[in-house]
């Protein structure tokens, strides 16, 4: 968590955003993030983001569900309390399949969503800096981190040249914190 200075550029079309992302990456400025109102396909690749491993997490959670269900039912019916149901075998695998399947799905889904919340840092009560109120409406907003080595004006002029419809400089918290969305933060008022 740190309060940093950002140059912010807003674009009104994906067609303009993609070349702009490429130019900013080539220029060597440090791109903080791009905020879009909907998932823009290919943007992650354009920004050089890695593929997510969320699927793998889901698979592992699913396996946990499978083994929990199978292990638990087998243990109960063969050793903890074997009951004779109409002379059928104690370890009746076909009859265990429905519950095993359900628990696999349950564990995979719940585990994945929790992992997703953790990785994305989203949770009730979490607050993050919103660079532009229209970034969830119709603007594609790019934040470039500023430091002592680059001049503010230079970055802003550069962003303007990439086709931004709006540019400004903002001081903002770069991570998340617990807060109320109806209240302004001290750094925003300063």
């Amino acid at each position: 968590m740190a309060i940093k200075k950002f140059a912010v550029a807003a674009y009104d079309d994906e067609e303009v955003l993609f070349p702009a992302v490429r130019k900013v990456r080539n220029s060597g400025y440090k791109m903080h993030d791009v905020y879009t109102p909907f998932p823009v396909h290919g943007l992650d690749h354009a920004m050089g983001l890695k593929e997510t491993d969320l699927h793998t997490a889901g698979f592992i959670f699913g396996l946990c569900g499978t083994s929990t269900a199978l292990g638990f039912m087998s243990w109960i019916f063969t050793s903890d309390w074997p009951i004779n149901f109409g002379g059928k075998p104690h370890f009746s695998l076909p009859a265990f399949i429905p519950i095993t399947f359900e628990l696999t799905v349950l564990f995979a889904a719940v585990g994945m969503v929790m992992t997703w919340c953790y990785l994305n840092q989203v949770m009730p009560g979490v607050k993050k800096h919103v660079f532009h109120p229209r970034q969830s409406d119709d603007l594609f907003v790019m934040a470039v981190e500023l430091n002592d080595h680059v001049s503010e004006q230079e970055v802003i002029d550069f962003l303007k040249s990439t086709g931004a419809v709006e540019t400004n400089v903002q001081v903002a918290e770069d991570s998340w914190w617990y807060g109320r969305w109806d209240k302004k933060e001290p750094y925003e008022l300063a």
Partner: protein, 477 residues
């Protein structure tokens, strides 16, 4: 950048030449306005139904299951009929959100949010019936496998009824997660444009602090895809397991291998009908005709005629098997279904489920909104009768003729059913007021391929010769 192109032959999914901001405005502004008078009337009526349902259930819990019309012969009456009916309705939501996502059906974006909400509310309604059918409902937690002081004595994991407990609770949880993970970005949209402090606070909490960062979207899409992959077999398994409640027992009319596919088709059939009922009204009241178009309704009517015909085939197969199996009990069960004291329920089922959807072979009728609305109700009446026929007319004449009986519901049973309508519509009215009933982000995602405005611009490209097109696009990079 490749050009976003979809043939103009395909009907647009969003009518009118809209930009992103207009989409937000059209879908979010009803949430920010005071609801109309219709909303208050409907909401109040639903609350009254819910209150009456609560009263009837309280009466039943206080005096016992004896207040219901079920008896020694017919142990499952209206309550299990209603349970299967509501659970079936829920299936359409998951089909739209999961299966159609895997099939890349663009039209799901307009209807998936409302359909998923319907799923969740329908499963909530369905769950009430087996719970209160237990009688001593305060001991309901006995169905859960928890370490207890009775041994521990575990539930029977080989029982289809216990599979149901797992299937339905998993189904509810996964549907809720799927639905909510899609809602988070839309809540963020409402939060960012909120004018009042209270709205900012509440939608701020509901949006989990979502900002729409590129990495978050990447994970969001991965999550949606995997959840769709998980929900697809899940939704098929849920109604399969519900059908096992019947098919694994040795009762003529129930003991049949056709039940799982037949139940799943029936579930989707009734669910799409309910989606149509809700959306025909919602699109009108909330002025969302541009997003939930006649094309959307037509697509759903096509699913209705397909699944309705599958259900019809299943009915005929059942009849054939009752003769071909040469089992006198099986033959008798079906003879009494058709011509016994409950003949009217069998023929109501046949008319509503097999005959009536065949009208949807005609394009004019598929695209006729009043007709769609009437049909959606007819289909759900038919599907209710299907479950009634399966349950009551298989039980009322058992192996011992001296215990043959007739069954009619009492006022508490009817009130319980009405009460679940109250619950369902109370939830739906709140949803329609406070939630974006069309997935805003998803509509924006398809807007530049399937919107009417984009299609108009594509007309010029479609006129071009191949050489011209290639020449122009080669330099577009």
């Amino acid at each position: 950048m490749h050009i976003k192109y979809e043939s103009i032959v395909r009907e647009p999914l969003v009518d009118g030449d809209k930009n992103y901001h207009q989409v937000t405005e059209d879908i979010i502004s009803p949430i920010e306005r005071k609801p109309g008078r219709m909303w208050y009337v409907g909401f109040f009526f639903s609350l009254c139904l819910l209150a009456y349902g609560v009263f009837c259930v309280t009466w039943e819990v206080y005096w016992g299951i004896g207040t219901w019309g079920i008896n020694r012969t017919i142990g499952w009456g209206w309550d299990i009929t209603n349970f299967v009916w509501w659970i079936g309705i829920g299936h359409a939501g998951t089909l739209i959100s999961a299966i159609l996502l895997l099939f890349r059906q663009g039209w799901r974006t307009g209807v998936n949010r409302a359909a998923e909400a319907m799923t969740i509310f329908a499963v909530m309604c369905a769950g009430q019936f087996p719970i209160f059918h237990m009688g001593r409902v305060w001991d309901g937690f006995f169905v859960l496998p928890y370490p207890n002081t009775r041994g521990p004595l575990w539930p029977n994991f080989n029982s289809a009824l216990l599979w149901d407990v797992f299937a339905i609770s998993t189904y509810f949880t996964v549907s809720l997660l799927f639905w909510y993970s899609g809602l988070i970005p839309d809540f963020a949209t409402i939060r960012d444009r909120a004018k009042t402090k209270l709205r900012k606070l509440l939608y701020g909490v509901a949006s989990f602090g979502w900002t729409g960062s590129a990495k978050n979207w990447q994970r969001q899409e991965a999550l949606a895809l995997v959840l769709a992959g998980l929900s697809t077999p899940l939704v098929l398994s849920v109604h399969t397991i519900v059908s096992f409640d019947f098919a694994t027992s040795v009762i003529p009319g129930w003991h049949t291998t056709i039940f799982p596919p037949y139940f799943v088709a029936g579930a989707i059939f009734s669910g799409f009908a309910m989606v149509n009922t809700l959306l025909v009204l919602s699109r009108k009241i909330l002025h969302l005709e541009d997003y939930i178009t006649v094309g959307h309704l037509e697509a759903m009517n096509k699913v209705i005629v397909l699944t309705g015909s599958i259900v019809g085939c299943a009915y005929l197969t059942e009849l054939f098997m009752s003769w071909y199996s040469a089992n006198p009990n099986e033959a008798a069960a079906f003879k009494w279904r058709i011509a016994g004291p409950y003949w009217w329920s069998y023929w109501a089922m046949m008319t509503c489920n097999v005959v009536s959807p065949q009208f949807f072979w005609f394009k004019k009728l598929r695209r006729n909104i009043p007709f769609t609305f009437i049909m959606s109700i007819v289909v759900n009446i038919g599907m209710w009768f299907e479950r009634f026929v399966i349950i009551v007319t298989s039980l009322y004449r058992d192996y011992l003729p001296s215990s043959w009986a007739y069954y009619s519901p009492t006022w508490t049973e009817i009130g319980f059913y009405l009460g679940t309508f109250g619950l369902f519509f109370t939830c739906y009215f709140l949803f329609a007021k406070y939630f974006p009933i069309v997935a805003v982000a998803e509509i924006k995602h398809i807007l530049k391929t399937s919107g009417e405005g984009q299609k108009k611009r594509m007309a010029a490209i479609e006129e071009q010769s191949v050489e011209e097109f290639v020449h122009e696009q080669a330099h577009a990079h």
